[in-house]
Amino acid sequence: MNILLVEDDAAVAEFIATELTRAGCRHTLCGDGDLAYDLARKQQFDVWVVDRMLPGRDGLSLIRDLRSVGDTTPALILSALGEVDDRVQGLRCGADDYLVKPFAIDELLARLQVLRRRASASAEVETRLQVADLEMDLLQQEVTRGGQVVALQPREYRLLEYLMRHAGQVVTRAMLLEHVWGYSFDPQTNVIDVHVSRLRQKIDKTFDVPLLATVRGVGYCLAADEEAQ
């Protein structure tokens, strides 16, 4: 994965860069908004990771300007917390995801994976999803595993759909809340875990091979066994 990292705080930039290298991602580091614009115009990246506060051109303008010239490369905004409704602003200006500092590096990596996958998959219209012997018919809204129909509640269906669309990737609890429930907030208790364990009951309980794994300290991963981790 080739990433453009636009971050002016040297310490944070170095930290993220180290972690990206460790995770096997190529990256280009840039500390100035105007320079980043030129870089992005010249070179094709898989994902942009952009800090909000930048010298030259701020992160929001950078993304807005790049979108206005037709570049649809996925963008993730990093922001120090402070403004209450800046998430909405960030997404409105064309960013695809938004992460508040400080963040767990696992969360960033998980989101980057999802963004890249989304960009490559968005071209084709899918009607079925499949992970091992678990199948989802998007038109009939029916889920089967090993040929047996699994009855799901609407929310469980959407939860599974999200997990299946990101099969093999680690998805965090915050990502699930954002995309399955549509709210970005901080649950005080692990309310998500209860939903996931219910789903697990339905899709894994009666089968020998578990598909839905918990990734400690990060989130969940739906994958056929050999794919996981």
Binding site: E19, G82, V84, A104, I105, G217
Partner: protein, 456 residues
């Protein structure tokens, strides 16, 4: 009750004491002056009686008894009430001459002075007159009693006494009534001060007394109190910003620590990975607390919500209840939602969802298994905005803690800290409600707690 309060007030006690001291002083002065006047009066009266006796002596020496009789008769003709009266008697005690009756009951004073009372006819009326008298012996046979009325002094004494009593009564009554009203008024002002201060201390510490509307010392006092409140608020802000700074500064190293732990967890053999995962969990909890503190601060410090996004409250509630329903089911809690009216509210969906989630989370957390949590939505009683009520059947919170539970990290009972959560849920909920121009109130659900979320 009210009268007793006023009477026992400092102002009234002071005024009452003042009036009493004043009355006592005036009485003393008047009595003193009267005594002085009486002394003079009686000494001149007695002197005149003694002089009259000498005159009688001279008359007797010159003209013997006949002259005395003549003199006494002449004097008795006088129309003045204040003239001398005489009784001339022989050594047998028989009356010889004079205008006083022979047998009169005397009171004896020291120095040979006598006093008696006699009814006199004056302007056709019988009047009891007080007399001062002294006996003198003429030659060897006769005795003459010379008397003079001191009625004038008695009348004046009575007049002075009456005037004094009336004046004092009026002074005391007027003083006390005036004191009562003055005390009632000052008490009213102090009660107002007390009420206002209680309201400010319990409620919003950034409010101030309206010092300009007051006068004199109350105004000065109000200004002093306002200055004190300024100081207190400044200190509170100081403490808050220190804690915010700490949270802010610790967040980044903590995040780094967590990331390192995460790497370590992958590199270590599985038996150690367990404890690393626990450490990561602790890091996450700390980070969540810090983030929540900073978020609350941002909400409290910033201005009100200024966007114009419309949020469907009904949908928001349904989603929140749906999210928490499995959690409730795990504890066998009956989470019900009343039929909801359509309700649109200006605000930010993520924040409002956070608000509802925090309150629901609390309700489910503190309600024992088998209990109920009821969620309802209705237009506010005032007609503007909506109110969301989340009522549980848990142990509730005694009303003395109602104000405190919205404070950061406040927990009603230390034992409750065993339950998960960082003690910031309700303070964040209130910060969000107030950010949207609403508020949160608590009520007793008997049993349990009703949380009333008001949104414009």
């Amino acid at each position: 009750m009210r009268v007793r309060e006023v009477v026992s007030s400092l102002t009234f006690r002071f005024i009452a004491r003042y009036v009493l001291v004043l009355s006592a002083t005036v009485t003393l002065i008047v009595v003193g002056m009267y005594s002085f006047y009486s002394y003079n009066y009686f000494s001149s009266l007695s002197r005149s009686i003694m002089e009259e006796q000498q005159t009688l002596n001279l008359v007797y020496e010159g003209q013997s008894l006949a002259g005395v009789e003549q003199y006494v008769r002449d004097q008795g003709q006088s129309q003045m009430i204040d003239h001398f009266y005489y009784l001339v008697s022989d050594d047998q005690g028989n009356k010889v001459a004079g205008d006083l009756p022979a047998a009169t009951a005397y009171r004896e004073f020291e120095g040979g002075w006598l006093g008696f009372e006699l009814a006199m006819l004056e302007w056709g009326k019988s009047v009891d007159l007080e007399f001062l008298a002294r006996e003198v012996v003429l030659g060897e046979q006769y005795r003459v009693l010379v008397a003079r009325s001191y009625q004038e002094a008695v009348a004046q004494g009575r007049l002075v006494l009456h005037t004094l009593v009336r004046t004092m009564l009026v002074t005391i009554i007027l003083g006390l009534v005036g004191g009562y009203f003055a005390a009632a008024r000052s008490l009213q002002r102090f009660e107002w001060l007390g009420r206002e201060m209680t309201r400010i201390v319990r409620g919003n510490p950034s409010q101030r007394l309206h010092a300009e509307a007051e006068k004199g010392q109350v105004r000065e006092l109000a200004q002093v109190i306002n200055a004190m409140l300024d100081q207190t608020e400044l200190l509170m802000h100081g403490v808050r910003s220190v804690s915010d700074n700490i949270a802010h500064d610790l967040r980044t190293p903590l995040a780094r620590l967590r990331n390192r732990l995460s790497q370590l967890g992958q590199e270590l053999p599985p038996q150690h990975a367990e404890s690393v995962a626990q450490l990561m969990g602790d890091c996450d909890a700390l980070l969540a607390s810090f983030n929540a503190v900073l978020r609350i601060s941002a909400l409290e410090a910033g201005s009100r919500y200024s966007g114009d996004a419309q949020v469907d409250l009904r949908q928001l509630l349904k989603d929140a209840v749906e999210l928490y329903d499995p959690l409730a089911q795990e504890k066998a809690i009956d989470l019900t939602i009343d039929a909801l009216p359509a309700a649109n509210c200006r605000g930010e969906a993520d924040l409002l969802f956070q608000l509802l989630a925090n309150v629901l989370d609390n309700a489910i957390k503190y309600t024992p298994g088998g209990g109920t949590v009821r969620v309802s939505l209705a237009p506010a009683a005032s007609g503007e905005g909506y109110q969301v009520v989340i009522a549980d059947s848990g142990p509730g919170i005694s009303s003395e803690h109602w104000g405190d539970v919205f404070r950061r990290f406040y927990r009603v009972e230390p034992s409750r800290s065993a339950l998960p959560g960082h003690g910031l849920g309700l303070s964040m909920a209130r910060a969000i409600a107030q950010y949207h121009g609403g508020d949160i109130d608590l009520e007793d659900n008997a049993p349990g707690l009703r949380v009333i979320i008001k949104l414009p």
